[in-house]
C-alpha cells in the first residue's frame, strides 16, 4: 500500500512540490499510580526511540493537492511504521471536488516488551469524498470509507475488526469567515471473532464555524448517533448526543472565551457498566496578550455528570490558567488547573448490607500540562510534552496519579 501511495504521489509531484525529511530521537514514559487494596501500585513504561520521516507536499495553490508522509520508528518496546496520504482535487473556485485520505499503521512489539497486550498489529483506513453537484455556494458531498484492524494473535482485548460506511452531506464553500456542513452518516463495524457485538450506526452531524481570522466568533458542532448491536443481550443499543459550542468575544485587548460541551448517553437498557448519563463541561475565561510574543488565559472550569441515582453522579469546579509563547528561541505552553470533584453519593447500597461499599470518593485534582520547544539552531530543536494529573481523595485508598512525558531531539534539515 505504501508503495502504491508513494507512486500516486510522485505521479502528481511537480517540480515545485516540496519534500522534507526529519530525524528524531527521544524518550517516552507513562505512569499510572493507583491504590490496590492497601498498597500503591505504580505502572510505569518507558521507551527510548528513534524515528525518521519523509514528507512531501504539492505546491501551494496547485489544483491537485496532495501530501504524503511516511515514518518509521524503532523503540525499545515497539517498532512502528505509518503512512498518511491525502489527495484533493480543487475546482477553479478552490472548492474540493474530490478528496481521498488513506492511513496505514503497523506496530511490532519486541520480545520482553513491558506492554501487557503485545500482539503485533496493523490498521488502516481509506476514505473518499466527492462533490459531483454544486448548488451555488453549497456542495452535495458523498462519502465512503472502509477500514480494518488486524492482530497477529488475537486475544480478549486484541480483537480484529472491520468497518465501512458512507454519508451524504451538504457543505458550504469555505471562506475565511464562515463555513458549515450538515449531513447523514451511517457505518457498520464487524468483529470476525465475536460477531455478537457487531454494530450499525446511523446519525447526523452539524458543523458551523464563524470564527474568522481574528479568532472571535462562534463554532457549533452537534452529533447524534444511534447504535444497534447484533446481540442486544450482550451490548445494549444506544442513542448519543454530543454538542460542542465555543464562543469568543472581543473584550478590551483580549477575548472572552466560553466553551460548553454536552454529552448524553441513553441506553436501551442499563446494567452495572452501561448506565444513562448527561455530562456538561464548560470553561469561562479571559485570554490576553499575543501568541506571537506571550499570551495568557485564566478562567473557571466546571463539569456535571448526571447519572440519576447512580453513584457516578458528580459536580466539579476548577480554576485554570496558562501562558503561551511561540515565536522565540524557547517557546511553548504551560497550563495548570486545580479543582474539586464532589459526588452526590458515591456509595452503592445493596440488599445485603455486608456487600455495601463506597464506589467513589470526593477528590481534589491537579492538571499540569507542559509543551515546550527550544530551537537550538535553524535545523535542530528540543521538544517536550508532559502531563501529570494527581487526584487526592477523601478516601486515601482511592488516590491516583496519571502522567506522561515525551522528550524529542528533532533534526529537520
Amino acid at each position: 500500500m505504501a508503495v502504491a501511495l508513494f507512486a500516486t504521489a510522485t505521479a502528481y509531484a511537480r517540480s515545485d512540490s516540496t519534500w522534507r525529511w526529519d530525524l528524531s530521537a527521544g524518550f517516552d514514559a507513562t505512569t499510572h499510580t493507583y491504590n490496590l487494596a492497601v498498597d500503591d501500585t505504580t505502572a510505569t513504561i518507558s521507551e527510548a526511540l528513534v524515528q525518521a520521516a519523509l514528507e512531501g507536499r504539492s505546491a501551494r495553490g496547485a489544483r491537485h493537492r496532495w501530501r504524503l508522509r511516511a515514518e518509521g520508528g524503532l523503540g525499545t518496546e515497539l517498532t512502528r511504521q505509518r503512512v498518511d496520504f491525502d489527495y484533493r482535487l480543487l475546482d477553479t473556485t478552490r472548492m474540493d471536488r474530490l478528496r481521498t485520505d488513506a492511513t496505514f499503521t503497523a506496530r511490532q512489539y519486541h520480545p520482553g516488551s513491558e506492554y501487557e497486550y503485545n500482539s503485533d498489529n496493523n490498521d488502516g483506513r481509506l476514505e473518499v469524498r466527492g462533490s459531483p453537484v454544486m448548488m451555488g455556494n453549497v456542495a452535495l458531498e458523498l462519502r465512503a470509507f472502509a477500514g480494518w484492524h488486524d492482530y497477529r494473535t488475537p486475544s480478549t482485548l486484541e480483537v480484529d475488526d472491520r468497518d465501512y460506511g458512507g454519508g451524504l452531506f451538504l457543505r458550504s464553500r469555505p471562506t475565511l469567515e464562515r463555513s458549515w456542513s450538515l449531513g447523514l452518516r451511517t457505518s457498520h463495524r464487524s468483529y470476525p471473532d465475536s460477531s455478537e457485538i457487531d454494530r450499525d450506526e446511523i446519525g447526523i452531524d452539524l458543523d458551523y464555524d464563524s470564527r474568522g481570522l481574528a479568532g472571535d466568533g462562534i463554532s457549533l458542532f452537534h452529533r447524534t448517533r444511534n447504535r444497534e448491536v447484533a446481540d442486544e443481550t450482550v451490548r445494549p443499543p444506544a442513542w448519543s448526543h454530543w454538542t460542542d459550542i465555543r464562543l469568543a468575544l472581543p473584550a478590551g485587548s483580549g477575548l472572552v472565551r466560553t466553551e460548553l460541551q454536552s454529552e448524553t448517553w441513553d441506553y436501551g437498557y442499563e446494567n452495572e457498566v452501561w448506565f444513562d448519563s448527561w455530562r456538561m463541561e464548560g470553561f469561562l475565561g479571559y485570554e490576553g496578550g499575543n501568541m506571537l510574543q506571550a499570551s495568557w488565559h485564566a478562567g473557571l472550569t466546571g463539569a456535571r455528570l448526571d447519572a440519576g441515582d447512580n453513584p457516578d453522579t458528580y459536580s466539579e469546579v476548577g480554576l485554570r490558567g496558562g501562558v503561551d509563547a511561540y515565536s522565540g528561541v524557547v517557546g511553548g505552553t504551560i497550563i495548570v488547573e486545580v479543582g474539586r470533584r464532589t459526588y452526590d453519593d458515591g456509595s452503592v447500597r445493596t440488599e445485603d448490607p455486608a456487600d455495601a461499599f463506597t464506589l467513589y470518593s470526593d477528590f481534589t485534582y491537579w492538571k499540569l500540562w507542559l509543551m515546550g520547544q527550544w530551537y537550538m539552531s535553524r535545523t535542530m530543536s528540543l521538544e517536550v510534552l508532559a502531563s501529570f494529573e494527581p487526584e487526592n481523595h477523601t478516601e486515601q485508598a482511592d488516590d491516583s496519579a496519571l502522567g506522561f512525558l515525551n522528550l524529542r531531539l528533532v533534526w529537520r534539515p
Binding site: T30, Y34, L36, A37, V38, R60, R67, T105, Y115, E116, Y117, N121, L157, E158, L176, L213, F221, R223, R225, W242, E263, W265, G268, Y269, E270, N271, E272, V273, W274, F275, N290, M291, L292, S295, D309, P311, D312, Y326, S327, G328, V329, T333, V348, R349, T350, E351, D352, P353, A354, D355, W369, M371, Y375, R378, E383, S387, E389, A397, L402, F404
Partner: protein, 354 residues
C-alpha cells in the same frame, strides 16, 4: 427503556449470607484472642468464598469493557483471595482474613474502573472521529496558508493522538483519554495561532516590532560585531524582507514563520556580538575607542578652528559622559544608546573637518 435500581448492583445474594457477614466483619476486626477460635476460621472461609462469588460477578462486568487496568486489578483480587484461602488452610486464619479483605477492596476497585472505562471508551470513539475531521480541516488550512508554526503544532497533535491510540489498545483508557485531551489542546492551539497570526494587522505590527528589534541590535552592537554576528543580522534582515513579501502575497503563515526566524537570528547576533561577551564590556570598549578618537578629532578642530566641529565634539563629549554615568548605574541600554550617539556625532565632526 428498561430501568434498573441504580443503587442496587445486581449482586448474587445467598439467603444465609447476611448473618454470616455481620458476624464475620465483627470477627475480622476483633481482638486476636477471639479470632483464634475454631469458629473464626469457618467465618473467614465463608468470607473468602463470598469474595470468590463477587470476583466472578465482577469478571462479567469487566469483560464488557476494554479496560486493561480493571482486568489487571481483578486478576490481583483473584490472586489475593487464593492466597487468603491458602493461609486459612495452613492454619493462619488472621492472615487469611486480612488478605481476603484486601481482595474484596480490589474487587470494588475493579468494578469502579470498569464503570469509568465504559464511559471513556464510548467518549473516545465518538471524539476520535471528530478529532480526525478537525485535524484534517486545520491541516489543510495551515498548508494553504503556508503556516509552518501551526503545522508543527498539528504534527505534535497527530503524534499525541497516535500515542493515545496505543494506550487505548493497551486498555489503559484513562491514560488514553488524558493523552487524547492533550492532542485536542494542541489542535486548539494551532487554530488559535492561525487566527492570531493570520490577521494582517497583527502581522504588520509584528513586522514593525521585529524591525525595531533589529534596529536596536544594530545600534547596540555598532561596529562591535563578529563575522558570525554580522552574518546573523544580515540573514535576519533578509528573513524580514521575505516576511514582507509573503504578507503582500497573502501568505500570512509563511510571513509569520519568517518573522520568527528573523527574531531568532537577531537574538543569535546579540549572543555572538564579538569576543567581549557582556554588554558592560562592549560599552567600556566603545568608551575607550571614543576617547582615543576624540584626541585626534580635537587636535584637528583646534588646528582648523572649525566652530561647527567644535559644537559637534562638545555634544559628543556630553553623550560620552552620559554613557559613562549610565554605565555606573548599570543602565546598559541607555549607556549603549549614549555611546553610540557620541560616536555618531564624532563621526559628523570628522566629516566637517575633511
Amino acid at each position: 427503556m428498561a430501568r434498573h435500581n441504580p443503587k442496587n448492583l445486581n449482586l448474587p445474594r445467598p439467603w444465609w449470607l447476611l448473618p454470616v457477614m455481620l458476624v464475620l466483619l465483627g470477627m475480622v476486626l476483633a481482638p486476636p484472642v477471639r479470632a483464634q477460635s475454631m469458629g473464626h476460621t469457618d467465618l473467614v472461609s465463608a468470607y473468602i468464598e463470598r469474595t470468590d462469588e463477587l470476583i466472578e460477578w465482577a469478571a462479567e462486568l469487566v469483560a464488557e469493557t476494554e479496560s486493561g487496568t480493571a482486568r489487571s486489578v481483578l486478576r490481583q483480587a483473584k490472586d489475593m483471595n487464593r492466597r487468603a484461602s491458602d493461609n486459612v488452610e495452613q492454619g493462619r486464619p488472621d492472615r487469611g482474613a486480612n488478605m481476603a479483605r484486601r481482595a474484596r477492596a480490589a474487587v470494588w476497585h475493579a468494578v469502579k474502573l470498569a464503570r469509568e472505562a465504559m464511559g471513556l471508551q464510548e467518549r473516545l470513539r465518538v471524539r476520535a472521529e471528530r478529532f480526525i475531521e478537525l485535524h484534517r480541516h486545520l491541516s489543510e488550512r495551515a498548508r494553504d496558508l503556508g503556516h509552518e508554526g501551526a503545522l508543527d503544532l498539528l504534527r505534535k497533535a497527530e503524534g499525541q493522538s497516535h500515542r493515545a491510540r496505543e494506550q487505548y489498545l493497551q486498555g489503559d483508557l484513562r491514560l488514553a483519554w488524558q493523552m487524547f485531551e492533550r492532542a485536542e489542546d494542541l489542535t486548539s492551539m494551532a487554530a488559535r495561532l492561525m487566527a492570531e497570526t493570520g490577521a494582517p494587522a497583527t502581522l504588520e505590527q509584528e513586522l514593525e516590532r521585529v524591525q525595531d528589534q533589529l534596529d536596536r541590535a544594530h545600534e547596540r552592537l555598532g561596529d562591535d560585531l563578529s563575522q558570525q554576528a554580522r552574518r546573523s543580522l544580515g540573514e535576519a534582515e533578509e528573513a524580514l524582507d521575505r516576511a514582507r513579501n509573503h504578507l503582500s502575497a497573502g501568505e500570512p503563515g509563511r510571513a509569520m514563520q519568517m518573522i520568527g526566524l528573523a527574531r531568532r537570528l537577531a537574538d543569535r547576533a546579540l549572543d555572538r556580538r564579538g569576543g567581549s561577551g557582556g554588554t558592560r564590556e562592549a560599552v567600556e570598549r566603545q568608551l575607550e575607542r571614543f576617547d582615543s578618537r576624540l584626541v585626534m578629532v580635537q587636535e584637528r578642530t583646534v588646528e582648523q578652528d572649525n566652530e561647527q566641529a567644535r559644537n559637534l565634539v562638545n555634544q559628543a563629549r556630553g553623550h560620552r559622559d552620559r554613557a559613562e554615568s549610565a554605565l555606573a548605574r548599570d543602565a546598559m541600554e541607555e549607556a549603549l544608546r549614549q555611546i553610540r550617539a557620541a560616536h555618531n556625532l564624532l563621526e559628523q565632526a570628522e566629516r566637517t573637518l575633511r
